[in-house]
Amino acid sequence: MRIFLSWVILCVSISFNAQARLNIEITEGMVAAVPIAVMKSEEEVRNAHGTSFEQLAVVIRNDLRMCGRFEPLMSAQEPGVENIVLGKVQALGNDNFMVSFQLLDVYKTNVLTQQTFQGVKQQDFRKLAHHISDVIYEKLTGIRGAFSTRVAYVMVTSTMNGKRYSLELADADGFNPITLVKSKEPIMSPSWSADGRQLAFVSFEKNRAEIYIMKVATGQRELLSRFPGINGAPAWSPDGRTLAVVLSKNGTPKIYLMDLMTKTLTQYTDGLSIDTEPAWSKDGRTLYFTSNRGGKPQIYRLDLATKKAERITYVGEYNARPMLTPDGKYLVMMHRSERGGSFNIASQELATGQVSVLTHANLDESPTLSPNGAMVLYGTQDGDRQVLGLVTLDGRGQLRLPAREGSVQEPAWSPFLS
């Protein structure tokens, strides 16, 4: 049982009026994940290939656990179970399977949803499982699931001949990783295009910083920027036509926009400060970025129409690496409090300026949001290496994704891919 022992004790009032209907106010409760049993249906007949819905159930349970909101269970007999997923795989022969599942509500004793998938191949079981996770998630939370998405990240491994860097791409749960780029020199700052078909990244393969864009499906890449000095922090605009980049060709690092059709550059910030890590607002009209123009790194908002920048963060002595939630309500960032100490992931509600620190390790960095805005994936230290961590936006659901090898850095969560 993963129960977060955070009781919220608040006064409770019971109002009663002779005429009005009785109303009882409920304000106390225990914050906890939804206990949900995911299992094969009793109807499922064990078939010749040894396939079972359990193969999908493992993936689904892992997805649901990973997102922080659920407490997946293997049996419906466990106490407190609120929902049950019953699945069935029928082998129709020749790598052709029919997969069906039901989502039940224990207390309502009704079927919330049920689906059947025809013509499924065994190799697609994982993918289908992620899809079922999405369906369950959306049904129970009202939020679109993000289990069928991917994550790009940089993996660093140590070999006899020094470090090796690679740009990797994996399913959101970390499975099925593929290597896009391998290099002896650092690879940095992967960034997804809005349609999820391309990645921009920085490579030092030629011993200097260069910005590339790459088609994910084919691995075909294109060099965009190799100006003297820094070429970094690419960020794709929501309409996919523009890439925000950081260049130091005229002195200190400044933010430029590059038109991807014409390759023309326009400088958007100036001065002697370091301006970096641009992140787009959903409407594409503003950029949030990190600047030390106020002395220490803080986050500013740049109005692209006026080129005027306004400071956004005031809580903490250090705020960097901004990213906006899809609803535009929260800023997620790397944060260090006024007292100094550790670097953590924090969120700031833009309307109120309220800052919540979500993680509590020593060095948490490079936050990236799931496309539904429900989860933050970030890099964190685990001994002498770096791994990925997951946290819900309220900071209550925490999870570490164990790295199979080496260190994992700078994750970039893809947009919805279908």
Binding site: V8, R21, L22, G29, M30, V31, A32, G68, T141
Partner: protein, 282 residues
């Protein structure tokens, strides 16, 4: 008229004087003798007598007679005048008397009128007095009647007030009793609501993964007499599917809810609302 009469009198008087003068002239010789006794006159006469012839004497006599006549005329005139004056005075007196009489008469009339007036006035006064008296009596009677009525009203009011007070006291007692009952019932309802509340709190698994601040939803609940949840449905959504679901589930999980034994109290729990909110403590 008067004037005319006076001039007529005057002419008559004049004729008489002339006649008298003729008569006197005729008897003058004897008179002269008689008048010889008068020394002054005789002395002078004497002187003149010598020179005066008969004619002159006659003339003189005539003159004297004329003077005398004149004198007499004067006197007569005087007399007449006096008489006239007297007459006038008399007339005046008469007139005055007449006037006086008239005045008297008038006065008497006036007096009579005054008397009548007085009488009338007195009568009027009498009447007024009588009226005033009557009014006074009437007012007095009225005042008395009013006082009596007021007294009666007062008494009635008092009686009514007492009755009302008694009624109110009764009602207050009844209300108190009702209130006590109501309070007792309400206490019982509150006690049971508390029981149910803690039961729901125990069963409320708040959703995890997002900020619950400000979220609030209302669940309409219908119970069976046994306390079993017949329906629990969201009537006011928080906007979060998870939050609404968690609230609905909390009610269903808590079924059956403890039911009060008193059917009167239990009635309040056949259908009611839960308001779920999570005002996160800072």
């Amino acid at each position: 008229m008067k004037k005319y009469t006076q001039s007529t009198y005057f002419i008559i008087a004049l004729c008489l004087h002339i006649l008298l003068a003729i008569l006197l002239f005729l008897s003058l010789e004897r008179t002269i003798f008689v008048s010889e006794d008068k020394p002054a006159l005789s002395q002078k006469e004497i002187i003149n007598a010598v020179v005066i012839n008969k004619n002159d004497l006659q003339k003189e006599v005539a003159r004297l007679e004329a003077v005398e006549a004149q004198k007499r005329i004067h006197e007569e005139e005087k007399k007449q005048k006096l008489a006239l004056e007297e007459k006038e005075a008399k007339d005046k007196i008469i007139k005055a008397q007449e006037l006086a009489a008239e005045l008297e008469k008038k006065n008497e009339v006036l007096k009579l009128a005054q008397q009548q007036e007085q009488k009338k006035l007195e009568e009027k006064q009498q009447q007024q007095k009588a009226a005033a008296q009557a009014a006074k009596e009437k007012a007095k009677a009225k005042a008395e009647a009013e006082a009596k009525a007021a007294q009666a009203a007062k008494e009635q009011k008092k009686a009514e007030k007492e009755a009302q007070e008694a009624q109110e006291a009764l009602e207050a007692q009844e209300a108190q009793r009702q209130q006590a009952l109501q309070r007792q019932k309400q206490d019982e309802v509150t006690r049971h609501a508390q029981l149910i509340r803690s039961r729901i709190n125990e069963n409320w698994r708040k959703p995890l993964g997002f900020d619950l601040t400000g979220l609030k939803c209302k669940i309409d609940v219908k119970l069976l007499p046994t306390g079993e949840v017949l329906t629990a449905s969201v009537i006011v959504s928080s906007g979060s599917v998870e939050f609404d679901r968690s609230a609905e589930l909390a009610v269903r999980k808590a079924s059956p809810l403890p039911m009060p034994e008193d059917p009167f109290v239990a009635n309040a729990f056949r259908q009611f609302d839960f308001t779920f909110s999570s005002l996160e403590a800072a």
